[in-house]
Symmetry: C2
C-alpha cells in the first residue's frame, strides 16, 4: 500500500495496551493525517511504500504529549508571581489589569512554541479571549482542545478585599457564556478536526447556580466536555461555604456536575472522600504538579484519585507559577512529589507519568479515539526524540530497558527533534516550520515592555513579597 | 589595560553580595584564567581592551554552576534503578558486579558532558577509581574537586543479607585509603589548579573508627576537606546503632568529625537536633533533592540546616536514581520539594536555589576564593545563556525582574550556549570543543551493551520491582 511517510528503524513506544507498548526496531506508516500502520520495521517496509522514509535509527518514536490544562493567555507574565503569598492578587492582578488582549496573545504564542519544542502536540487551553488565541493553534498546526473562561466576575475583582464574597453578576456571566458558545460554533471541528471546543466555567465559586446549570445543559446539547477548576484552593472552599453552606464537591454533586463530561482540574483542597466521589462519578482529574507545587506548596490527591479508579491526566497550568509549559517537567514532578507525599520510592513509577501525559490523558480529555497512542486509524501526532542525547545515554534494552525512566527522570524536552501533528511535520531538527520563533519572541518582549511600563504603580502599590525581594537585590 | 576577552552588553548575575548581584548591561573582562573586572559595559569597555569581544546582547552571563556531589562512575547504569525498593542491592548491585572500571569510566564521561551542557563548571566527584575518572576533567578542561571512595567493605558486600552487620576489613580500608592519598599526591593542584582533591570516607557505617580517625588526620595534614555521606539512610543508622550503639551524628561528633572540614552529604535521616548540631559545628551540608526524592521518597532537612545558620550546597548525586546530572533540575526540585514539605509557597525562593548552586556552594566545598561568583581575581568560570529562549521569554526588568525565577523554575539547561572554565572556552554554541561527544556516547553505549550481556543472570536472580515492570511491559 502507498502511504505518504514511513518512520522506520526506531525504538517505538506505542502506549497501547496496559504498559508502554514497546516495539524495538519499529516503524510507523503515515497516510494523510492518520497512522496507517505501526509495527516491526520489516513488516511495515514489506507492506507499505512511501515517497519519504525517515531513518529513525537511534531515535525514539512515540505519541505526541498532551498538556491537559493550560492558560497560555497568562504566559506573558511568566516569572512574575512565585515564591510569594497572594500570588494571584498581588502578583498577577497588577499586571493583568494593565495588559491588553493583543499583548497577552503575544505571550500565548511563546508558550505554544515552548510546548511544541518539548513534544506537546495537544494543548488543552483555557482562557479569556480564546477566540483569538485559537488562531495560533490553527496557524501553527497544533491540536487544541480549547475553552473560553466563563465566570460572573467583573474585571475589577482584584480590588475586592481578601476574604469578601465575590459579587456575582449574571449579566457578565451571560456575556462570557455567549463568547464560549461563539468559540464553539466558530471553531469546533475546524482545521481538519484539530480544533475542538469545550465549555470553561472557571470554578463553582465564580458562577451562580443558574449559569452553572446552563453550562451543563449546553455541554450536553453540544455533546462536549466541561473543563473546570474544582476545589482549587482554600479561597474557593471559603467562598463556597460562605455562599452555599457547602464545599465545592458536594455542591457540584447535587447539581449533577460530577459525571464523565467533567474535566476537574486540581482538586487541591478535596478531601479523600470528595476525591473518591469525583472518581466514582466518572469525572476526570487534571493534575498540575509543578504549578500547585509552586503556587501553593501542595500535592493534590492524585494518588487517592487513581486508587479510586479515576481517569487522570497531567497539565502544566499557567507560566507564572510553574513557570514553564513542558510536559517533561510535569512528568518528573508528578512522580517525585507523590513519592515524597507517600514517603515511598515505588509510588508513581515512570510509566505512570508517561501514560498520564499520553494515552490516559487522551482518555481524560475525551480524545482517545484520535490521539494518545500510536495505532492504525488514529491521527498522526508523533514525536521523534534523539536517543543519543547525553540525558538518555546509554540505552539498555535487555534484560531491563531504561528508556522510559530516562524519558521521565532525565530528559529535558530538547531531546525532541521532530514533531508531526495531524500528519504534518511541524518541527524538524528542532526548527519550527510554521511560525517564525524569533519574531514571536520579539513581539512578546515588546508587549511585556508595554505592560511593565503601565503596571509599575500598581505593582509598587501591591507591595508583594516578590516586590520586596526585588528591592533587596534578590531578583 | 589589555585583557584576553571581554563579554559585553550582557545581563549579568555576579552572585556577589547578599542577593544575586544584578548588573544590567554589564560586562566581564577576562585575562588568562581569571576575571580582571566586572561592571557596567561602558566602564569595562573604557578601561579594558581585548582581542576578542563577545557581544552578549540578549544573553545572561553568570558564574558556572557547581555540582557539589556526584558519583559519575555510576552513570553507566542510568535509568536502571528507580521506582523500586532496595535500589542499591537489587538495582545497582547486579550491574556493578558485572562491570569493569574501563566501562564505568565511559559512563562518567557522558555525565560530565551532560553537566557542562547544562552549565556545570565545577564537579565534586566522589567515586571508586577516581584516579582514572579525573583524567576526563583534565582533558575536557572542567574544574573538579574529587575524592576516592574509602570504605572497609569487600567487593562482594552485595551478597550480604539485608539487615546484617557489614563485616569491616581494615586491610581493604587501608588499600582504599592509599588510593585516596595517591589521588591527592598525583592530582591535587594540577591542571593550573583546576583539579583539587578531598578525602572520601563513604559513610560512618562503612569504616572502622581507626580508619575514620586516620582520614581525619590526613585531611588536616593535607589541609583539605572530607566529602562524606552522613545519615544517608535508615540502613546506615541501623548499622551504626548495631555496631556502635550510637546514631551517626552523635558518633561523628564524639570523634571530632563535625567541623568545617566536613562536607556532610544528604543528612536524610538526621533528626532536627542532629541537623542543627552539624550546622553549629560548622560542617557544610550537600543537599541532593532529585536523587533522594527518587531513591527514598524523602526531603532531607535542608531548611532546618539553613535556619540553624549552616552552609549548604546542591548536588545531583548519581545518574541511576535521579536520573540526571543537571543543576537546573536540582535548583527547581530543591525549591518545590521544600515548599511542599512546609506547605508554604514562600519557602526556598528562586534566589536561594541559585545561590546554593553558585556562591554558597563554593563556600560549602571550600572553593569560594576561586569560584561561585563573578568578581575580579576569581577564576573565569563563566556561562552565557540565551535570554531569547522560549523558556525565558519575555524578560521583565522593571519594576520587578523575572530572570532569576525563570532560570530556576523554567530553564531546562539547554539555554546555556557558551561555557568558559579557567578562562578557556570549553563549549561554544552548545558544541563542546575539548571532547568528541558522539564518540563518547558511542563508547558508553558499547560499554553498556557489554555490561547488559554479563549481568543478565544476576538481574533476573535479583527479581527487582524494575525487573517485574519489564516483564509486565511497563518499561
Amino acid at each position: 500500500m502507498k502511504v505518504d511517510l514511513i518512520i522506520a528503524h526506531a525504538f517505538v513506544l506505542t502506549m497501547e495496551g496496559a504498559g508502554v507498548g514497546i516495539v524495538e526496531n519499529g516503524a510507523v506508516a503515515i497516510n494523510g493525517d492518520s497512522i496507517a500502520a505501526v509495527g516491526a520495521t520489516d513488516e511495515i517496509l514489506a507492506g507499505y511504500q512511501a515517497d519519504r522514509v525517515i531513518d529513525a535509527s537511534g531515535k525514539l518514536v512515540m505519541p505526541g504529549l498532551i498538556d491537559a490544562h493550560m492558560h497560555t493567555g497568562l504566559s506573558i507574565f511568566r516569572g512574575m508571581a512565585q515564591d510569594m503569598s497572594h500570588w494571584m492578587r498581588k502578583g498577577m492582578w497588577p499586571l493583568m489589569k494593565n495588559s491588553t488582549k493583543e499583548e497577552t496573545l503575544k505571550g500565548s504564542l511563546v508558550t505554544i512554541i515552548e510546548g511544541i519544542k518539548a513534544g506537546t502536540t495537544t494543548f488543552c487551553d483555557f482562557d479569556h479571549s480564546m477566540g483569538r488565541i485559537v488562531s495560533h493553534y490553527a496557524k501553527i498546526g497544533a491540536r487544541a482542545r480549547v475553552a473560553e473562561t466563563v465566570n460572573e466576575l467583573s474585571d475589577d475583582i482584584g480590588k475586592l478585599p481578601v476574604g469578601e464574597l465575590y459579587p456575582l453578576d449574571p449579566a457578565i456571566g451571560n456575556r462570557k457564556l455567549v463568547a464560549n458558545i461563539k468559540l464553539f460554533e466558530e471553531w469546533h471541528g475546524k482545521e481538519n478536526g484539530r480544533i475542538t471546543c469545550l465549555f470553561g466555567p472557571q470554578g463553582a465559586d465564580m458562577l451562580g447556580k443558574e449559569l452553572l446549570l446552563e453550562v451543563k445543559a449546553l455541554a450536553q446539547k453540544y455533546d462536549t466536555r466541561i473543563h473546570m477548576h474544582v476545589a482549587q484552593g482554600d479561597r474557593e472552599i471559603e467562598q463556597m461555604v460562605k455562599r452555599h453552606q457547602k464545599r465545592t464537591i458536594p455542591y457540584l454533586d447535587e447539581l449533577g456536575y460530577l459525571d464523565s463530561r467533567l474535566m476537574a482540574v486540581h482538586l487541591t483542597e478535596a478531601t479523600k472522600e470528595e476525591t473518591q466521589l469525583v472518581a466514582k462519578r466518572g469525572a476526570s482529574m487534571i493534575y498540575c504538579a509543578g504549578s500547585i507545587g509552586i503556587i501553593d506548596g501542595l500535592v493534590p490527591p492524585i494518588m487517592d484519585f487513581l486508587e479510586a479508579g479515576g481517569q487522570a491526566a497531567l497539565g502544566s497550568d499557567q507560566a507564572p507559577g510553574n513557570n514553564c509549559n513542558n510536559m517533561f517537567n510535569e512528568m518528573k514532578f508528578a512522580a517525585i512529589l507523590n513519592k515524597v507525599k507517600r514517603a515511598d520510592p515505588k509510588v508513581f513509577p515512570a510509566w505512570l507519568s508517561l501514560r498520564l501525559a499520553t494515552i490516559e490523558s487522551a482518555k481524560a480529555i475525551g480524545l482517545d479515539h484520535e490521539v494518545g497512542s500510536l495505532k492504525a486509524g488514529k491521527k498522526a501526532d508523533v514525536i521523534i526524540l534523539d536517543l543519543e542525547a547525553p540525558t538518555l545515554c546509554p540505552i539498555y534494552t535487555d534484560p531491563i530497558r531504561n528508556i522510559v525512566p530516562n524519558l521521565v527522570y532525565s530528559a529535558r524536552g530538547n531531546e525532541v527533534e521532530t514533531v508531526l501533528i495531524d500528519g504534518q511535520v511541524i518541527m524538524e531538527n528542532r526548527k519550527l516550520l510554521t511560525v517564525d520563533e524569533k519574531e514571536a519572541f520579539r513581539q512578546a518582549q515588546e508587549a511585556a515592555d508595554q505592560i511593565s511600563r503601565r503596571s509599575r504603580d500598581d505593582i509598587a502599590a501591591a507591595d508583594s513579597d516578590v516586590y520586596r525581594m526585588m528591592e533587596d537585590g534578590y531578583l
